[in-house]
């Protein structure tokens, strides 16, 4: 069982959360010409590293906020969590 530290509510069991995918994927900028390749990369292409991964989680049975988690995809160790406005490096 993962234990995830919600930046708003504190440490809670995995069952309260839903996963939202890779947090490093950036939507192409609005109000400018977007190439087919840029859309392709945004919608479909994923790095999916083995090791440290920055991802989105949703505290669905809690405060219902989205936030970021840095987790090891092989060991499930969680290094950091942060609000959406904060950076994880």
């Amino acid at each position: 069982m993962l234990h995830i530290n919600c930046p708003f509510c504190g440490l809670r069991a995995q069952k309260e959360f839903a996963y939202g995918g890779d947090a490093t994927v950036k939507r192409p900028e609005l109000n400018k010409e977007v190439s087919k390749e840029e859309w392709d990369n945004f919608v479909y292409m994923r790095k999916s590293p083995r090791g440290k991964h920055i991802e989105l989680w949703h505290h669905i049975s809690g405060c219902r906020q989205w936030f970021k988690v840095q987790r090891d995809t092989a060991t499930h160790e969680i290094f950091k969590t942060a609000k959406m406005s904060e950076e994880i490096k």
């Binding site: 069952k15 996963y19 087919k36 392709d40 919608v43 479909y44 994923r46 991802e55 995809t73």
Partner: protein, 418 residues
Amino acid sequence: MQKYSVFSLIKNAFSDHQNWEVAWKDPTPKSEYDVVIIGGGGHGLASAYYLAKEHKITNVAVIEKGWIGGGNVGRNTTIIRSNFMYDANARFNEFGMDLWRNLSQELNFNVMFSPRGIINLAHSDAQMNAYARRGNSMRLNGIDAKLLNRDEVKKLIPMADFSDEVRFPIFGGLMQPSAGTARHDGVAWGYARQADSMGVDIIQHCEVEGFDVEGGKIKGVRTSKGVIKAKKVGLCVAGSTNILAEKLNMTLPIETHLLQACVSEPVKPVLDGVVTFGAGHFYISQSDKGEMVMGGDLDGYNSYAQRGNLPTIQHVLTGGLALFPFLSRLKMLRTWGGIMDMSMDGSPIIDKTHIEGLYLNCGWCYGGFKSTPVSGWTFAHTIAQDRLHELNADLTLNRFSNGYLLDEKGLGTKTWIS
């Protein structure tokens, strides 16, 4: 190669089974091959077998970092089916069904293919309509499909809960009578043994760590046992695809996720065929030994761990108990997990790449075991002829940018949410 038969069994019984030939050798890698296949799972071994058999290319190595059959081919729940709606998936997998039917004879190895049928249960009128549509699409592609009403389902799976108290009553279901199961390790061993007998080197405990590419052309692979030159290289590494793609500076429409399964203690025969619970995420069959084999959801987040977390198993079994209350009295024997290459539309990719001589076989999600023979068959063709076969003509890498997705479930890019 020694032929397995009743007579060889009797003959070897006289020497206490001490003198059987090894099923495949344990060679040291040569310095160069015509084709190197990375990954000694079902798909890699089948590809090597059909390269040798159909295309007479026998200077081939299958390179496996662990032992053959230790990956998903030995971890899956053995369901074989071709109940697909899209033409590309339906034709591909129905061709595969034909290969399955003859596989034990062809490989001289009992893969225990058992076409005992699969039933997808429906729990609403809308679901019945959707299954009627899928069934019709299947029949247009020559695949057997039968829409069952509630009474017909009750006859086939009397152990399910048909009482009035249930949250998701059974309205009926869609059945593919010719679908079924097979012995998963047997498939890997059977392909390995035949490929070996035709000259393929099966190299275990050898990890591919990098690639040699020159002028846009593949030259070979770097492994834990040294550099191995190759004219052509095929990737069949299931959940490890992203790791190797990264070494080639390729990004793919794939994420690696974990799928778990579990089996109960063995009991007498109670369930014939495979049943999927259309209201939750749960499916079940009974093994030849009597164990109930069960699975359902992915763990739900990117993962390379070959073991899972308990909440998912609990969730899966909650669905199981809703359908089959008798399961509550069975003890669980074991649970395990395997890592899946989840593609962004839920369908596989068998294609050439922008690197000459490098071929890709991936994106099998949680349904690659059923396609093992046809995957090997088409991949061998693609490698040998350097072009796609008509059966994998739509399973391309560029279907995502072109918009020709094969999204059977309508889940878009979040195939792991189901």
